[in-house]
Symmetry: C2
Subunit: 302 residues, 2 copies
């Protein structure tokens, strides 16, 4: 099948690569073109604009950083909409605003272009191994057309409902990741300062009703002082904005998530944005009683 892939980054590159390996013909584009070089070697053809890629594709994947990036790919100069023919399916693997996602889908629909939001979780390792979890929103019939491709990219594929709900599901996922990391950070800080070996605490709590993926996988990294990403704080901050924004849009107070968001933003302010999410620990460990009183008094309940 003729497949487009726009956004050849840490996630997009191995995902496009897996599609090539599965026998598909890939047309690719990236803002920094030379990032496509490893795919050229595998037989992909590189194009200078999204419009070029869209002209060649039956199904077009997008995997870029943020909502404005997706908007530019679709509707900007030389965007997908300029050449995309009726019947084209656009699949967005980025993690972006659920609200804007619906608007994008509606605009494409006017040109008979179908759209699925299909954010992923599982990180670069999952992308490389084709073991991502993919949360797909959009029409069921369109989802089914793309399912064989999703099965190349991931091992857990879920059609979660109408367009936008893939992003909502990802927003929920990030909410859990953020609050679990806050729990890890506070638990480990408490243990450490109380004189309880934090590695022992992590091991004991992980095995019971206090356990989480974060504690089992990132807890030991915190204990070891290993803050390498994994998943960067900068990106989690971006994602949490969408989670909290969606809460506001639908009048659902998310007071815990909003607190976690502010602490991750604080970590970013302190220079830890390009570290793994477990570097939230640095902020929590430093925060002696009262530290937050003045800085966050108003926002904490916003």
């Amino acid at each position: 099948m003729n497949i487009g892939y726009i956004g050849i980054g840490i996630m997009g590159r191995p995902m496009a690569q897996n599609l090539i390996k599965a026998g598909h013909t890939l047309f690719v584009h990236n803002r920094t073109l030379d990032k496509c070089d490893p795919l050229t070697e595998l037989g992909a053809s590189v194009w200078t604009t999204p419009a070029h890629v869209a002209a060649m594709s039956e199904i077009l994947f997008i995997n870029v950083t943020d909502t404005p990036d997706v908007e530019a790919v679709l509707f900007g100069a030389d965007g997908v909409i300029e050449t995309g023919k009726p019947g084209l399916i656009v699949v967005d693997n980025s993690t972006i605003s659920p609200v804007k996602t619906k608007a994008f889908a509606a605009r494409l629909k006017e040109r008979q272009i179908d759209f699925l939001d299909a954010p992923v979780s599982g990180g670069d390792v999952g992308a490389q191994n084709g073991t991502l979890s993919i949360m797909v929103g959009g029409e069921k019939a369109v989802f089914e057309k793309c399912l064989p491709l999703f099965e190349v990219l991931g091992s857990k594929i879920t059609h979660v409902g109408e367009v936008g709900l893939g992003q909502t599901c990802k927003a929920c996922n990030q909410l859990f990741c953020a609050l679990h990391m806050l729990a890890c950070s506070e638990g480990i800080a408490l243990a450490k300062k109380a004189g309880l070996d934090p590695a022992t605490m992590v091991e004991v709590v992980s095995s019971g009703a206090g356990g989480s993926w974060a504690l089992a996988n990132l807890g030991p990294k915190i204990v070891a002082g290993d803050m390498a990403p994994g998943f960067m704080i900068d990106l989690l901050c971006k994602d949490l904005n969408y989670t909290v924004d969606q809460g506001k849009q639908i009048n659902q107070e998310l007071v815990g998530t909003a607190l976690a968001q502010r602490l991750f933003e604080q970590a970013r302010t302190e220079g830890y944005g390009r570290e793994g999410t477990q570097a939230l620990y640095r902020v929590v460990e430093d925060s002696q009683t009262g530290r937050w009183k003045h800085e966050h008094a108003e926002e904490t309940v916003g």
Copy 2:
């Protein structure tokens, strides 16, 4: 072995029962004496005061609700200290204050009575099946003397360090349970209000980096509206007080845990104290944007 067990409640009864089944001679006491009846039938002898039980025991377990209850059993009228002989080992299975625990151990030590704090997790089901996780603080040699009994009661036994650190480890465990339940409540509320099937969200997120024991086990109960305990909000509130207090004592800000504590207290105020911890969801679901602004403006950052 001659073993005392004081506090024949939902946890203590099956734990004492397992000790009888393992061949030990049990001397038991409970404030409401007739709760001991099922153990009498199995051959335990019931005594009217802690002092009587302590006089008969080589190792004496306590499993009562709160710090003042343990204090009364040990040092109140007809307390353990009145008859406990040098060499007696007291094992406290209650979940109480780590700080007071150290003081209790010190007072007993003056009489050559050894003390282990050994709070458990795993609930009444774990108590019945002998599959509890037991977190033990105290001297290693004393721990080793009691290990064969712990192995009757639980399947994961960990000596976590000196006296008091068992309670600290439990305090950490409860911190994780509380924050994970906050994540579950906010995630499910967000999904539901956004039109995403919450059961689908729970299933998708559980399987990945957002997963937790709470989400996998209590998430489906929230979705089904099943708020039966499990572990009651009243008890988690009590436990979280100790977690937050210990943070204050050692100057470790626990801003997330303190927020979760206030929300669980709110659930209690609203009449959900005797429901399972998953009933926190009722409070979170109801909280439309702005609800917390006035009520919690000052405390949220306390």
